[in-house]
């Protein structure tokens, strides 16, 4: 891609999430709590991508995502890439990986699960990476990517 085609400005410091499937982009942005964030967030959707067809990119200025946030990204968009930017350069690429135990970030899709009835932190075990399957540690309900809603 030549520089002329860049549709979203470079950031000086912060985090770039690239290679998001376009339709997941807003979901990913929401999990970073954009309303409570004072710096610029650049979002682009439907960018052309050879690999993915259409992709989304999100750039958070002056913000380094926490591991917890990266884990959330991994659940919703395992193919995304996360880079930490310093002085306009990629300082670090964070390999995103779905953790073996997913704590307190996903809501169980079983309405009769104790985690939806009492004040209990949710916990899921990663059962399978591809296609994604996670199992509630309480009610043992298996959930695929389409069932995943964040807490």
């Amino acid at each position: 891609m030549t520089k002329k085609e860049i549709k979203i400005p470079a950031i000086k410091e912060g985090t770039v999430i690239d290679h998001i499937r376009s339709r997941e982009t807003f979901k990913i942005m929401r999990l970073a709590n954009p309303q409570e964030f004072e710096h610029t967030i650049n979002v682009a959707l439907n960018l052309k991508s050879k690999k993915m067809g259409k992709k989304g990119v999100i750039k958070f200025s002056n913000r380094v995502l926490t591991q917890d946030e990266v884990n959330k990204v991994a659940l919703l968009a395992p193919e995304a890439t996360v880079s930490i930017i310093e002085d306009y350069k990629v300082k670090k690429k964070i390999r995103i990986k779905i953790p073996q135990i997913i704590e307190n970030i996903v809501k169980c899709s079983n309405p009769n699960c104790i985690t939806n009835k009492e004040d209990v932190k949710t916990r899921f075990d990663l059962a399978k990476e591809e296609p994604l399957q996670i199992r509630c540690a309480y009610c043992e309900r298996m959930m695929g990517r389409e069932d995943i809603h964040l807490n």
């Binding site: 169980c108 079983n110 009769n112 699960c113 104790i114 985690t115 009835k117 009492e118 004040d119 209990v120 399957q133 509630c136 540690a137 309480y138 009610c139 043992e140 309900r141 298996m142």
Partner: protein, 305 residues
């Protein structure tokens, strides 16, 4: 390997070694009862949801070991009605007893109880999720009736989609070299997840609609209830219900030493004319629950090393 202090929440938590150890202790207790083993110990039976059969089986198990039982058989009579949580109920009861047995209609409540409790918790059913002591008594019955588990052809019949006992037993049997037959209408077949699991473990299974076709192969027929309300179409139900109701005539198509199991209570899946046959193992199966639960209570309390 010690069971002392362990919770029995899900068949998923038990290895093949664990399963065999429990069956082994149950067999020993059946041969040599231990009427003093739990003397001075208390079992709390917390039945937030009523289940007469399971509760009585646990009470009998504890009393036959010389222990005492406290508890309730219905959450209407407890503070749960006032809004007390599972967590708080357990925090109170753990000081009154040595082992807790809990049944609750909410899935995952048993795992939560185990996290809250400093004493062992035995899950006696959490909603549609797990009922591990049922699975253990099923395994015990299979082993006792046939003298082995490996090498058997085991057929599940009826509602395999929603049947909790079927899912758990299928999971437990995946530790053994059995061939499983899933005999149900397509709308009530085993969830794909369980079949994928068998594929991954390279275990043979057959998906079948017609019991009579599979019957000549089977060593064990595990019957379950088919509930009318599970069917999207009542016409479909009426068409199929007879296929999954068995009577003595089934034996003409079966191995002479086939054993018929059922988690009970039955509605009309098994005609009473089968009861008198040696093939009917369902009442012996229910009786086995007591000795299997004795083994579990003895092991988790640490009274059986």
């Amino acid at each position: 390997m010690s069971f002392k202090g362990r919770d029995i929440i899900s068949i998923r938590d038990l290895s093949k070694r664990d399963l065999l150890a429990i069956l082994d202790v149950a067999a020993k207790l059946e041969k040599n009862p231990e009427p003093e083993l739990m003397k001075g110990k208390v079992l709390a039976t917390l039945f937030f949801e009523p289940s007469t059969r399971t509760r009585l089986s646990f009470v009998s198990a504890m009393e036959r070991l010389g222990g005492q039982v406290l508890g309730f058989e219905n959450s209407d009579v407890t503070s749960v009605k006032k809004g007390e949580t599972v967590w708080d109920t357990i925090k109170m009861v753990e000081r009154y007893a040595d082992v807790i047995v809990q049944r609750h209609k909410i899935e995952g409540s048993a795992r939560l109880a185990a996290e809250a409790s400093s004493i062992p918790v035995i899950n006696a059913g959490d909603g549609a999720n797990q009922h591990p002591t049922q699975t253990l008594l099923d395994l015990y019955t299979i082993q006792k009736e046939k003298g082995k588990i490996d090498g058997l052809n085991i057929g599940f019949v009826g509602d395999l989609k929603y049947g909790r006992t079927v899912h758990s037993l299928c999971m437990a049997l995946s530790h053994f070299k059995t061939k499983q037959y899933f005999i149900a209408p397509p709308a009530l077949q085993m969830p794909q997840y369980y079949l994928d699991d068998l594929d991954e473990k390279k275990l043979p299974y057959v998906v079948e609609q017609d019991l009579l076709k599979a019957a000549p192969e089977l060593d064990i027929i595990y019957m379950t209830r088919i509930q009318k309300e599970r069917f999207p179409d009542p016409v479909e139900y009426n068409k199929l219900k007879g296929v999954y109701q068995i009577d003595k005539s089934l034996l003409e198509h079966s191995k002479p030493d086939v054993r018929i199991l059922h988690p009970l209570p039955r509605v009309n899946e098994i005609n009473m004319d089968l009861d008198e046959t040696e093939n009917a193992a369902y009442f012996r199966q229910a009786a086995n629950g007591v000795v299997v639960r004795q083994a579990i209570i003895g092991l988790v309390s640490g009274m059986i090393p």
